[in-house]
Subunit: 799 residues, 2 copies
C-alpha cells in the first residue's frame, strides 16, 4: 500500500513539475502553507507549529460553525473558571472557618474548667488538621506543597513543570489548604487559591482529567500552548479575585506578577472571569448570612472593612509612614533571605530523607505554633477594659465564643482582656481585623505587639517551605500590621491628635511588608484598597509601597523570583542581563554541535540522534539545484517521536514524497502531535522499531516549522534575548550574515486595510484555492522570482 | 588635516592587519561594539542606534557618577511630571469653575429682573470664552485642537506627528481648555489633560523648550526614543490621574489604552507619577477649601461621591442593568460612527476653508448650545418641591447662586424647581452630580431626561471635532447617566423597592456609554470606582462594561482607533490582520527596489539617493574576500544627513578609514545624531555641498546599525508583523534563506547568572578593554571561527 502510494506520489510530483516552468514543486506549497498557518499565532511557542496545523485543519473541515463554537467555548471556559474558582474558595473558607471556629469554641469552653485540658485539646486539634494536610500532600499530591505561584509563573513563562496542573494537585491543594490553614499554622490560603484557579483552568483546557476519565471530547478545543496559557492566566486572576474578593486586583496581579506575555484581548477575558468570581463569592456569602454555614459568617473571606477609620491625614504623618515603608522594605527583604536559607536547607538536607521526615517536620512546627500561641498569652498580664464607649461598637471583653476584639483569656477579673491573646489566640483573619480596627486606641501594649511580631515572624519563616499548601499573603499582612500598629501607637502618643487611628498605620504596615517582600506595586495597591474597602488611603498606600519596594530592591529580589530560582525554574525575566551586551549570539551557542537532518532522513539516523542527545529541536537542511545547502525549517523532537511511534509516514524510498501537494499527509490524525498538557509525553525509550523499520525513510517536509526565527551570528545576545522573550520562542537559529537584502519592511508595508472581517479571531479558510492562486501567479510571469520554492533540487533528485 | 589623518588610518590598519593572523581588521570591532551598545536597548526603535552610542559613550566618559545622575534625573522627572500635571489640572479647574460660577451667578442675578437680559449676558459670556479658546487654537497652537489622545497613542506607537508635543501646544491646550469648558460646550477637560501631561513630560525630556530658551543642558539626559516614550507614558497616566483624581485608573489607562510597549519597570515609575499627582491635587484642594479660590470648591474636580448610595442589589436588578449595557453599546457605537462622519466632513470640506471658518463654526456651536441650554428649560413647566426631607440633605429649591439640585428657574412659585434646568442650565460636573445623586427619587421627569438626552447627544456629536481642545469623557458620562437614570426611574416604578437608587443606574449608564464608545475595560472600571468612591458597585460596573463593549464591538472600533485612522495616524494594532497569513515577507515588500550603499560611498551618490527617494533606512553592503556580497548593516537617512551637514567624516580615499579601531570617530559630537524631539530635523534640501565635497567619500561603518533584524523572505507577514510590533522596530530586512545553521539558541543559553550587579540599569562601561579581549581571544586559537570580522575583503582593497 505504502509503496503504491509513493509511486503515485512521484507520478503526481512529475506532473506538477511539468506543469510549472520554474520548478515550483508543490511540496513547498505544503511548507509555506504550514508557514502561513503557523504565522497566525500571536506569540508562538514553537510547540504550536503542528498543533495549529492540526487545529486549523480541523477547523477548515468543520467550517464557520466551528469558529462560533470555539468562541463560545472560550467564553464558557472563562465563565466556568470563574464559577469553579469561586466555589472552591467558598468551600475552603467555609471549611476553615468551621474547623477553626469549632476549635476555638471548644477550647474556650474547656478552659473554663481546666487550662491544661484546653491546651491539650487545642494542640491535638491543630496537630490533627496539620497532619491531615501534610499526609495528603506527601502521599497523594506532592506538587501541591507551597504556594504554587512561582510554579505558575514559570509555566506562564514557558517552563513546564511536572505535575503542577494535575487533577490530584487540585484536590491536594484544596484539602491541604483546609488542613494547614485550619490548623493554625502561620500561612495563608491565597497563594494556594491562585494555584487552584490555575489548575481548574488547565483541566478545563484539556477537557477534563484524562486519568480519572472525566474528560470530554467536546471540550478539547484548546490544543495550542497559547490557548492553554491564556486559560491559566484567567485562572490566576480568578484565584486572587476569590482569595481577596478583589476582582480588579486579580486582573492586575495576573498582569503584573504572573504572566510573561500579555495581550489586550486577553485582559478582557481575564476581567470577565474575575467579575464572575466576585459575583459567585458574593452570592455564596449572601446565602451564608443567615447562619446556614455554621461558623462561617462575617469572618472567612478577608475583607477588612476600614471605611469607618481615619478620613484624613496631615503632613506630619508622612514621616512615620515613610518609616513604616522602610521597616517594610527591611523586614521584607530579610524575610526573603531567611526563607531562602530555610528552603534551600530543607531541600538539600531535610526533604531528601523522605516523606516521613516531612510529616514529622510539619507536625513539630504545628506543636511549636500551638505551644507559642497558647502559652505566650498565658504569661501576659491582663489589662482592664477601657471606659465603656458605646459608639466604638466593641464589647469588652467580647462574649465567649464570638469573634472580635478584647479576648478574655486567663484573666482574673471579668472586665479584663488579654491583648496578646486577642491577636495570637485567634485565627489570622480575626487577628488582622483586630489590628486594623479603628476606635480601639490603646487596646494593645507595645510589649505584646513586639512579642507577637518576633514570634510570628519566626514562625512564618520556619513554616515557609514545609510540605503543606502555604500562602504568604496573610502572614505578611499579620506581620506588617503588627509593626504598623506599633508605629501607629507612637504616632498617637507623639502627635496627640484624635483623628489619627492606629488601625490606619496597621494597614500601611501590611502594605509595606507585602511590598518589601513580594515587590508588587499596582496590583498590591489595588488589592489592599479592595480588601479594606477604603479608597481614601490610596495615596498613602502608594507612598508606603514605593518606599518599601525601593528599600527591598536594594537587598534582594522579590519572594517569588527568589523561590523560583531556588526551585530551578528557569524564568526568563523581562530585562536581559547586563553582561549579555558583550556576548554575540554565536558565542552564546558555545561549542555545541548543531545536529541537523536532511529533508528525507533514514529512520535509524533519527533514532540514533534522538538517543544520543537531548535537544528538543533540529534544523532540517536541503540542497538547492546548484548544490548549495539551504535551511528549510525546524523539526521538533516531540514530533519526531510521534512519527516514529505511528510509523505511518515511513517510506522505502529516499526521495521526497510528493503526493502531498498542498494538502495534509494522509493517515495522520494531527491531534497526535498536540503536546500532552499534564504528562511527560512519549520518550525515545518507549518506541520499539524493527530492523526493517530502521531501514526506512521519513520525509520531514510536512512536519517542520518552515520559518523559524533567525538571528545573524554576530547579533548581541541582548537583542537575541529580547526577540526570544518578547515573542515567546523556544528555539532561535543562529545563521550567517545575509548576502543581500531582498526588501525592507517598514511600518507602511504592515498597514494593510481590512478586506475581510477581522473581528473574528479565527476564520474558516479553505486551503487549496490559495495554492492554486500562487501557482497561477508563478506561471503568470513572476517566474523570475527566486522563491525558496524554486531552490530545492528535486529535478536533480528525480532525474 | 583630514588627509593626514587618513594616511595615519591606513598605516594603523595595516599594522592591525599584520598583527592579527585571521584578518580581523578591527573595523568590525567598531561595528560590533556599536552592535553591543545598540543591543542594550530593550525595545529599540531603530532611531536609537546612534543615540545610544552617543549616550553611552558620554556615560562611559563621565563614569559611575553619571549613572547615578541619570537615575536621579529619571525619578526627578517623574516627580516633576506629577507636580506639573497636577498644578496644570488645578489651574484649569480653578479657572473653569470661577468662569462658570461667575457666569451662572451673574445670569441668575440678572434673570431676577429680566430673562431676556440674562439670556443675552449668558450667550455673550459663553461666546467670549469659546471665541478665546478657538482663537488661541487657530492662531497659535493648531495641534492643540481635539482631545489629543489619538495623537499621543500614535506617538507611543512609534508615529511622530508634527507639533503635538510643543510648548505652544501645551499653552494652547491649557488656555483653550479653560475657554471651551468654561464656555459651556458639550465637551470635557480630561482628554486635554492627558495631552497636557504628555506635553509636560516631553518638554522635560528634551530639557525644556529650545525655541523659547527655557532649556537646560543639565536636564538633557534623555536622548533615546525609549526614554522619551517612557516619560510621555508617565505624562499620560499623570493626566488621567489629575483629571479624575484616579491614580490607579491613570496607571491602567496608560497601560491599557495608550501605550504599545510596556515594561514592568516602567509601571513602577508611572505609579509614582500618579501618586504624586494625587498628593498635589489633594493638597491644592485642601488649600482651596477655605474659599481661597473663589467659586472653586466642592465642584471642579470630578469626584462624584456616591458612597451614600445604594448598598446592595438584588438579582432582579441585573436585567435592567444588562439593558443599560446594551443601550451603552448601541449609543456608544452610534456616537463613534456619527462623530466619524462629522469629523471627516469637517476635515474634507469645512476646515479646508481656513481659520476664519473654524472660528465661525465654533462660535455658531456656542450660540446654539447657549440657546438650547437656556431656552429649553424655559419651555419646561416647573415641578413642586418634594416633601421636605431633612435627611436627604438637599434644599429645594436650592439657594440662588449655589451649586446643587432643585434649581428654581423660570418658576412661578417659590417652592418649585425646574428639573430640566437642574441638569441643562448648569456646569456638566454639577449636572452629573445631580444625576448621580441618591435620595432624590422622582426629581426628574422622564420627559425632561429624554429631551436632555437627545439634545445633549446631538450637541456632543456636533461639538466633536471643532477647533477647540475637547475631551469626550465628561460628555460621555452626562449622556450615559441620563439614560441610566431613565432606566433607573422605570426600575424604581416597577420594583417599588426603597433600596433602589436612581443614581446608581445613572452611574452604570455612564460606565456603559464610555464602555460602548471608548471600549476600555479595566481602566474605565477603576476610574469609575475611583471617581464615585464606591467600591461596592464594582461587580455591577464590570457587568455593564462587559455588555456594552461587546455590543459596541459588534458595530465598529473604539473612538480613539476610529479617530486615529481618520487622522491618518498609522497605528499598528497589537493583532495582525487576518489576511497577513497569506502574504509572505517578500510579497509585502512588493516591487520596491532596494537601494543599498557600499561601505565606503561617494558623497555625490549619497546626495542623489537621498534626493531621489524618501526611504528612511538603507542597507549597507560590503564584499568578502572571495568576492561575495555581505550585508553589514543599516544606515539611517537622518544619520546620513548629519554626516553630510557636518562634513567632518568626508575623506578623499575610497578606502575604509581604519584609525577607528574600536573607538569613536574623532571630531564628532554624537549628540548631533540625536533625533530632535519636536522639530522636523534637517532635510536634504537644507544641505549645501560644493563640487569638491561631492567628489569625496564617507566610510559608513561607524555610523551603521550592524545588526538590524532580519526575516527570511518566505516568512508569513503575520510573523513579521509580530516581530515588528513586539520589538518596536522601524525597519526589518527581508533576506534569502540561510544556507546553514551555526547554532541554536534555547532557553538555557539565555539563563546567564548575574556576575555583575544587575540592579543598576545603566553602568559605566569602558570600551577599549573589550576590544582587546576579543582580539586576544581571536589570536588564542579561535582563528578558525568565521566571524563576520574575517569576511570583509580589506586585504584585497588594500593590496
Amino acid at each position: 500500500m505504502l509503496s503504491n502510494h509513493l509511486q503515485n506520489g512521484i507520478e503526481t510530483a512529475k506532473q506538477v513539475w511539468s506543469r510549472i516552468p520554474n520548478g515550483d514543486d508543490g511540496e513547498l506549497e505544503g511548507v509555506s502553507l504550514l508557514n502561513t498557518i503557523n504565522g497566525g499565532t500571536v506569540e508562538s511557542l514553537d510547540y504550536e507549529v503542528i498543533e495549529n496545523y492540526a487545529y486549523r485543519e480541523e477547523q477548515a473541515q468543520r467550517g464557520k460553525l466551528y469558529v462560533g463554537y470555539y468562541v463560545v467555548v472560550k467564553w464558557l471556559f472563562a465563565l466556568l473558571i470563574g464559577i469553579g474558582t469561586g466555589l472552591a474558595a467558598v468551600f475552603i473558607n467555609i471549611s476553615v472557618e468551621n474547623f477553626a471556629g469549632w476549635k476555638f469554641a471548644l477550647t474556650f469552653s474547656i478552659i473554663q474548667k481546666s487550662y491544661m485540658a484546653g491546651f491539650l485539646v487545642y494542640i491535638l486539634i491543630n496537630l490533627g488538621l496539620v497532619f491531615s494536610s501534610v499526609y495528603i500532600i506527601t502521599k497523594f499530591a506532592p506538587a501541591a506543597a507551597g504556594s504554587g505561584i512561582p510554579e505558575i509563573k514559570g509555566y506562564l513563562n514557558g517552563v513546564d513543570i511536572r505535575g503542577i496542573l494535575l487533577f490530584r494537585t487540585l484536590i491536594g491543594k484544596i484539602f491541604g489548604s483546609i488542613g494547614s490553614v485550619g490548623g493554625g499554622l502561620a500561612l495563608g490560603k491565597e497563594g494556594p487559591l491562585v494555584h487552584i484557579g490555575a489548575c481548574i483552568a488547565s483541566l478545563l483546557g484539556q477537557g477534563g482529567s484524562t486519568k480519572y476519565h472525566l474528560s470530554s471530547r467536546w471540550l478539547q478545543v484548546f490544543k495550542s500552548d497559547r490557548d492553554r496559557r491564556d486559560l491559566v492566566t484567567c485562572g490566576c486572576a480568578a484565584g486572587v479575585a476569590a482569595a481577596f474578593r478583589a476582582p480588579v486586583g486579580g486582573v492586575l496581579f495576573a498582569l503584573e506578577e504572573v504572566t510573561s506575555w500579555w495581550r489586550s484581548q486577553l485582559m478582557w477575558r481575564v476581567f470577565f472571569t474575575s467579575a464572575i468570581v466576585a459575583v459567585v463569592v458574593r452570592t455564596a456569602m449572601g446565602w451564608c448570612k443567615s447562619n446556614k454555614c455554621g461558623h462561617f459568617g462575617s469572618g472567612g473571606f478577608i475583607i477588612w472593612d476600614t471605611s469607618d477609620g481615619q478620613e484624613d491625614y496631615s503632613f506630619e504623618e508622612l514621616l512615620p509612614m515613610a518609616v513604616i515603608g522602610v521597616f517594610g522594605g527591611l523586614l521584607g527583604a530579610l524575610f526573603n533571605q531567611l526563607t531562602l536559607y530555610m528552603t534551600s536547607w530543607r531541600r538539600n538536607y531535610l526533604h531528601k530523607k523522605g516523606n516521613r521526615v516531612k510529616i514529622i517536620e510539619a507536625c513539630t512546627i504545628s506543636l511549636i505554633t500551638s505551644l507559642i500561641s497558647f502559652g505566650l498569652p498565658l504569661l501576659r498580664k491582663c489589662s482592664s477594659c477601657p471606659e465603656s464607649d458605646s459608639d466604638s461598637g466593641f464589647e469588652c471583653p467580647r462574649a465567649p465564643g464570638m469573634d472580635g476584639n478584647y479576648v478574655n483569656f486567663y484573666c482574673g477579673k471579668e472586665n479584663e482582656y488579654n491583648d496578646l491573646a486577642t491577636i495570637f489566640f485567634n485565627t489570622q483573619d480575626d487577628a488582622i481585623r483586630n489590628l486594623f480596627s479603628a476606635k480601639t486606641i490603646h487596646e494593645f501594649s507595645a510589649q505584646s505587639l513586639l512579642t507577637f511580631l518576633v514570634m510570628f515572624y519566626a514562625l512564618a519563616v520556619v513554616t515557609f517551605g514545609t510540605a503543606v499548601p502555604a500562602g504568604q499573603f496573610v502572614p505578611g499582612i499579620v506581620i506588617g500590621s503588627t509593626y504598623g500598629r506599633l508605629v501607629g501607637m507612637f504616632v498617637v502618643n507623639f502627635y496627640k491628635k484624635l483623628s489619627i487611628e492606629e488601625g490606619t498605620y496597621a494597614l500601611l504596615g501590611a502594605a509595606s511588608f507585602l511590598g518589601g517582600s513580594m515587590r508588587m506595586t499596582v496590583s498590591l495597591c489595588v488589592i489592599m484598597v479592595e480588601i479594606t474597602n477604603n479608597l481614601k488611603l490610596l495615596p498613602l498606600i502608594m507612598l508606603v509601597l514605593l518606599i518599601s519596594k525601593a528599600v527591598g530592591d536594594a537587598f534582594n529580589e522579590g519572594l517569588y523570583e527568589v523561590q523560583a530560582r531556588l526551585r530551578g525554574i528557569p524564568i526568563l525575566e523581562s530585562k536581559p542581563k547586563y553582561q549579555m551586551r558583550k556576548i554575540t549570539a554565536k558565542e552564546a551557542c558555545g561549542n555545541q554541535k548543531v545536529i541537523s537532518f536532511p529533508r528525507v532522513v533514514k529512520v535509524a539516523d533519527v533514532v540514533s540522534v534522538l538517543q544520543s542527545n537531548v535537544h528538543n529541536g533540529f534544523p532540517v537542511i536541503d540542497h538547492t539545484r546548484s548544490g548549495e545547502t539551504i535551511v528549510i525549517g525546524l523539526v521538533l523532537r516531540s514530533h519526531l517521536l510521534v512519527l516514529l511511534q505511528s510509523k505511518v509516514d515511513f517510506q522505502h524510498s529516499p526521495l521526497p514524497c510528493d503526493t502531498r501537494v498542498g494538502s495534509l499527509p494522509i493517515g495522520h490524525n494531527f491531534s497526535e502531535f498536540v503536546k500532552p498538557a499534564s504528562s511527560k509525553g512519549i520518550s525515545i525509550e518507549d518506541i520499539h522499531l524493527t530492523t526493517d523499520d530502521l531501514e526506512m525513510y521519513i520525509d520531514l517536509a510536512p512536519f517542520l516549522n518552515p520559518s523559524p526565527y533567525v538571528v545573524p551570528e554576530d547579533m548581541s545576545l541582548t537583542k537575541v534575548y529580547n526577540i526570544f522573550r518578547q515573542l515567546g520562542l523556544r528555539h532561535i537559529f543562529v545563521v550567517p550574515r545575509a548576502s543581500r537584502v531582498i526588501g525592507l519592511i517598514t511600518r507602511k508595508d504592515l498597514l494593510i486595510e481590512d478586506s475581510e472581517d477581522s473581528a473574528t479571531e479565527l476564520q474558516s479558510t479553505s486551503v487549496r484555492p490559495r495554492c492554486l492562486d500562487k501557482k497561477m501567479l508563478t506561471r503568470d510571469g513572476n517566474a523570475g522570482r527566486p522563491l525558496l520554492s524554486g531552490l530545492l533540487a528535486h529535478d536533480r533528485m528525480l532525474s
